[in-house]
């Protein structure tokens, strides 16, 4: 039962971080905030596999971690190209 | 041939970890996929690394890689305590400054490793690397005086000594 409250605190902190996505003055602020929200939901996925006792959710979390990294690199490269030309 | 075998064995081991069971079907499919990966990527990965040392030095370098990873895990927890203490203060008391530090590295690979991993050490963030003068530009978060900056410069040179053990 303690595990459910710990999951709720992580979801609360993800909602608090979403304030920076809306208000951030420049574009790199928004990228950093979206990166943090992605890692927080990866932790939620790992804790779900112990709360529901289904062990295959760890595989979903492993693939989700790859997508966060590719996401940030593509956004940074697109910005660098659009500023130049 | 040694380069292709060096890629083939770790990817096959990682394939068995992801699959979860050792089987003849898993082994056949894994062999096909890992052969394609090692044929495509083997020349690009080892383009900059000179493999001139023998097999006995190879095990010593694995020991140093484990030492560096455990050092960074120990170091990131200490630095996270200091940053999270600033977050809960009523009036945050940091004083950021940008400092340039000259390197002692010769090899380009160790420079590339240290620039990316300096983010995890205590209160430092690498902003850029100057190729002409060979110095980093580092953004500190809580350095209040010049005496405190000298202590932290020696702490970074300790990390430089560990990283230089891998690629020399």
């Amino acid at each position: 039962m303690l595990l459910l409250y710990l999951i709720l605190i992580i979801v609360l902190s993800a909602i608090l971080t979403f304030y920076r996505v809306i208000k951030g003055p420049s574009i790199p602020d928004r990228i950093v905030a979206m990166n943090s929200i992605g890692v927080m939901f990866l932790l939620v996925l790992v804790l779900f596999s112990y709360y529901f006792e289904r062990k295959f959710i760890i595989d979903v979390a492993l693939v989700f971690g790859v997508f966060i990294f590719i996401d940030v690199l593509i956004m940074a490269k697109y910005l660098k190209k659009s500023e130049k030309g | 041939m040694k380069k292709k075998l060096f890629i083939f064995i770790p990817t096959l081991a990682l394939w068995f970890v992801f699959a979860g069971r050792v089987n003849i079907q898993v082994f056949l499919l894994g062999t096909i996929v890992c052969t394609i990966i090692s044929l495509i990527l083997a020349d690009n990965i080892f383009r900059l690394v000179q493999m001139k040392y023998g097999t006995k030095k190879f095990f010593i370098k694995i020991y140093y890689i484990l030492l560096v990873v455990s050092t960074y895990i120990y170091d990131v927890i200490i630095s996270a305590v200091r940053v999270s203490r600033h977050a809960f203060e009523i009036k945050p008391s940091f004083s950021p400054r940008v400092v340039s530090i000259k390197t002692t590295h010769i090899n380009k690979n160790s420079v590339a490793i240290l620039v990316n991993f300096i983010t995890l050490t205590q209160g430092a963030l690498a902003m850029d690397f100057d190729n002409l003068n060979e110095n980093y530009y580092i953004h500190w978060i809580d350095v209040h005086s010049d005496y405190e900056a000298e202590i932290k410069k020696t702490l970074i040179s300790k990390h430089e000594y560990l990283v230089a053990k891998i690629f020399d």
Binding site: - | V83, F94, S95
Partner: protein, 111 residues
């Protein structure tokens, strides 16, 4: 006797989990309160990494020696490498496009 060891492992695992969740909560507070881009990058790299490593270590104690624990070790090493690369990419992008910060007290880069 076995029961006592089992309870002790549970206590160690929950201490790791609560420590990690404190770091994750402090990341969210620091994202709102810090005044500058570069100081937000400090919070987004160090506090988040310490929190996620601590939560995954707690799950690893809760699991025991198993094949699922090997996947958790792969996740830890993968996050440790990729997040530091991503933060350095954003910092060097912001430096090249002259995003200045107002709170720097001493600067070595001439302009």
């Amino acid at each position: 006797m076995i029961n006592l060891i089992n309870i002790l492992m549970q206590i160690i695992a929950y201490v790791f989990l609560i420590t990690g969740i404190f770091f994750v909560l402090s990341t969210a507070v620091a994202m709102i309160r810090f005044p500058d881009l570069y100081t937000r990058l400090h919070a987004g790299s160090k506090c988040l990494m310490a929190g996620s490593i601590s939560v995954l270590m707690g799950c690893l104690v809760l699991e025991g020696i198993n094949l699922n624990s090997l996947k958790l070790i792969v996740i830890i090493i993968f996050l440790l490498v990729t997040n530091s690369v991503a933060i350095h990419v954003i910092a060097s992008f912001a430096n090249n496009h002259k995003i200045k910060s107002k709170t720097i007290t001493k600067n070595d880069i001439e302009d």
